[in-house]
Structure formats: structure tokens, C-alpha cells
């Protein structure tokens, strides 16, 4: 291999990496200007931040108030995950190239799912609170729609990557689309889909904690109340409880997912 041969691709590679670095630097510069990111404030802010933490020594006398909203948080996440999964499944098959019915419905399904996925969960919640009023219902609806978006993207990527052989075999048998999906597609993707559903449940629990901030029910309402009343010790207790719950659910989810593979 002559040195000339290796020089050109080497030069191209070096150019690419320097180029990327340059783009990066420009981006960061713009970012600093646009957001007026105040670096010194970061340090004074950090000091204040730690002071806040000091004040948040948990006061567990507030505990009894916490259970009911906490339960509601989990219920919201659970219901949203279940309903979202049920609705997502037919949409996934509509949106995947190898199980779609026709190009138009596939395109419609894909666009719909992309939009669903691109709206932040808290924004969904705020939107539905404005339409449906305060409480758990807007939260459930919002997280359901959000779940459909997330699940459908993951699911459709999985469905499109399966072995096409069994699909061809079932076409040759004379089985229609739905039967083919049940016999040839589902067994290949079922374990992965359940894993995704558990993942979505995890995300929903975290989201559900927060949507109360915009009035969509759950423990977020308490969070906001404590913040507004500067009840930092209560806040500390709340955060510890949230921490334990999320830890539990994450642990359960990881355990269940490991059993599937």
C-alpha cells in the first residue's frame, strides 16, 4: 500500500473531523448568544442551589397526604400505558412496510404517529387540561397519546426488521393479512414488544409525576403546592418518596425485561 493511497482517505477523514469540530464550535457560540447563558450565574446559582438542598431536609410528617396523589400518579401511568398499548398495536402494523395494507394508510399512520411522538408529554397534558379541565382525566388522555407515539415508533422498527421468510410462507399457504400477522409476525416480536411496553410504563410514571404541575392530576399537584408555599421540608419528603417509587418501578421493569430475553 503506497503512502499516496492512504494519504487521500486520511486527509478526507481529518477534514471531516476538523469540520465537525468547527461546526460544533460555531453552534455553541450561537447558543451562548441566543440564550444569554450566564456562566458566572451558573456558579452563584450553584451556590444558591446547594443552599436550597440544605433546606430540603425531609419532613416526613407530611406523609399521609402523599399516598392518595401518589396512587393516582401510578394509576394514571398504568391506564395510559394499557390503553396506549392497545391502540398502538394495530397502528404499528398499519405503519410498518411489511404489514401495511396499502401505501396511503401506511403514510397516514406514519404521519399521525410522528406527530404524536413529537409533542412533549407535558405539552399534551397542558393542552388537555385546557380542554377538559383539571384532574386525572386530561393526564390519562395526554399520556395515552404520548405512549402511542413512543410505542409505535419502537414497535414499527421492530416489525420491519423481522425475518420475511415466514411471511412469504404464509402468503403461499393462502392466509390473509391478519392471520399472517398473528402467526408469522407476532411470535417474532412479542417478547420485544412487551419489553417496550414496560419501558413506556417507566416513562409514563416519571411523566405522570410531573403533569400535575399543569393540573393534570397526580403527585405533581402536591409538588407545585409545596413549591408555591415554600414548604421545602415537605418538598424534600415528597422527593424522597418519588425517588423510592421510581426506583421500585424501574427495578421491577428491569427485572421483568431481563426475564423476557
Amino acid at each position: 500500500m503506497s503512502s499516496q493511497d492512504s494519504a487521500r482517505p486520511q486527509a478526507a477523514r481529518r477534514l471531516k473531523s476538523w469540520g465537525t469540530l468547527a461546526v460544533f464550535a460555531v453552534l455553541i457560540l450561537f447558543a451562548f448568544r441566543a440564550t444569554k447563558f450566564n456562566l458566572p450565574a451558573l456558579f452563584t446559582g450553584a451556590a444558591d442551589f446547594f443552599r436550597f438542598f440544605g433546606r430540603m431536609a425531609p419532613d416526613f410528617t407530611a406523609l399521609p397526604q402523599i399516598w392518595s396523589p401518589l396512587l393516582q400518579t401510578i394509576q394514571i401511568a398504568y391506564v395510559a400505558t394499557v390503553v396506549g398499548s392497545l391502540i398502538a398495536i394495530p397502528l404499528i402494523f398499519l405503519a410498518s412496510a411489511n404489514t401495511a395494507i396499502d401505501p396511503i394508510s401506511m403514510w397516514v399512520a406514519r404521519t399521525l404517529l410522528t406527530v404524536l411522538r413529537s409533542i412533549p408529554d407535558l405539552l399534551w397534558a397542558a393542552l388537555f387540561v385546557a380542554v377538559l379541565g383539571l384532574g386525572a382525566l386530561p393526564g390519562v388522555v395526554a399520556l395515552t397519546l404520548f405512549s402511542i407515539g413512543v410505542l409505535a415508533k419502537l414497535g414499527s422498527e421492530t416489525v420491519e426488521s423481522i425475518d420475511p421468510g415466514p411471511l412469504e410462507a404464509l402468503r403461499a399457504v393462502g392466509a390473509g393479512r391478519n392471520r399472517t400477522i398473528v402467526f408469522a409476525v407476532v411470535p417474532q416480536v412479542a417478547a420485544t414488544m412487551v419489553s417496550f411496553i414496560l419501558y413506556v410504563f417507566e416513562i409514563n410514571v416519571r411523566a405522570s409525576v410531573v403533569i400535575g404541575f399543569v393540573g393534570a392530576g397526580g403527585i405533581g399537584v402536591l409538588l407545585q403546592r409545596y413549591l408555591n408555599f415554600f414548604d421545602y421540608t415537605g418538598l424534600g419528603a415528597l422527593i424522597v418518596v418519588i425517588f423510592l417509587v421510581v426506583l421500585l418501578i424501574d427495578g421491577f421493569s428491569v427485572w421483568a425485561r431481563s426475564r423476557l430475553i
Partner: protein
Amino acid sequence: MVKTLQTPPTDIPRAPASVRRNRSLLIIGAALLVALFVLALVTMNLPTWSRVLSGLQRNAMPLLRGLVRPETSVFELAWNSMVTTFFMAILGTILGAVLAFPMSFLAAGNLLGGTRWALPGKAVLVAVRTFPEIVLAVIFVAAAGPGPTAGIMAMGIHSIGYLGKVFSDVIEGIDQGPMEAIRAAGGNQLHTFLFAVVPQVLPEFASNVLYRFEINLRSAAVLGMVGAGGIGLPLIQRLQFRRWAEVSMFIIVIVVFIIVVDAISSNIRRRLV
């Protein structure tokens, strides 16, 4: 027309015990999930149908009307806020990545000599991950004043929880071979790190940072609702005043922006790994 079989039914051999057990477990599991679902619905304190319908009547029509006819006069405001949001997400992600990088080494078992030495590091990362980002944002707003700085710091700190975990997972998954080779050739810790660890982990790090950026872009869009800068504040103000046409414009800007950024990011990520 269907072809049915008229063969005399021969013996159907019984399914082995394990298969039957799995079938029953599946049925019990499904029944449990359904029961929990019904329970959750019933006890969740949902409003009555009539309240829902009246709320829908009052708001749904104006909302839909606003959605189909977005208010173009606010486009510039929406666009500029979204651009600020975009830059917030960039800085927040970079901050998080920079801080997560050293943290990840403290949480990687194979670098510390065993998983148990990595446990405190992992625990810290979990704690940071679990702390609700929005509470972080509120605290930073109180500490550093309202505006994008608070949001950037909140996203930065929160991202450490995720990026730190992902980074440490990647480190734990690397091939020991190059590490051993360099040590055998006489290199010290630094050499090992630079020439055996970094090249293996860099592409996957970068891919995960991009993914985190996609998520942070969405967070940045909403953190403004508590005053942490970005498009969240003007959006929620308009939501609260039910200015549906303007809300619609904002949502369109947000969605399109996110879709485009997601597409570019997925493209880059695919080429990295």
C-alpha cells in the same frame, strides 16, 4: 367457502406439562392486568360524563377551529422562541455530557476493579435521574432568576443521570482486548485510557448524546412553563387564555421543529454506530 376436514379424529397428544403451565401462567397474568386496569379506572376519581361533555363542548370546537386556522401573526414570536429553545437544549445537553463524562468512569465496574466499587456511583446517577427535571428547573429559577440559564442548568444536571448511566454501560461493555494489549506493551493507565478505551466508546457516546439532545429539545420546550426560558412560557400563557389560534401556531412550530431535528439526528446517529 371453507374446506373442512372429515378425517376421523386421531389422538391428539397432550401438550407437555411445561407448555400447559406456561399457558395457564399467561392467562392468569392477563386476567391480573385486566383486573388492575378496571380497579384503576374505577378508583381514579374521573369526572362524570356530563362534566366531560360540557367541558368538551365549551372548549373543543374553538380549539379545533383554532387548529385549522393558526394565527400567522405570532409565527415570528413562536419561531424565535423555538430557536432559543433549540439553543437551550444544545447547551443543556453539552453541559450534561461534559459533567457526565467523568461521572461515568466512577460508575463503570470494569474500570474500578469490580461492580461493587461502582455501586455508589451508579446510585448517585439513579438519584439524579429520578429527581424531577421540572422541580430542578423551578429551583434554578429561584436561584438564578427566570430565563434560559435556569433551564439549561436544569437540563444539564438531569441529563447527567441518563448520560452517566449510558456512558458507564458502554464502558462496561467494551472489549478488554485492546486494554490488555496496551498494558502488556507497557502503557500506563492514561495510555490505556486514550488508546484502548476512548476509540471504542466515542461513537456510541456521541450517538447517545444526540438521542439525549432529541429528548432535551422536548423538555426545553416545556420547562419554560415554570419560567425556565424557551417557548414554554408564551405557550402556556396563551393556553391559559384559551387563545386557540395562537396556541395552534405555536404547536405547529414546535412539532415541525422537533420532527426536522429528530430526522437529522437519527440520520447522524445511524452513521455513527
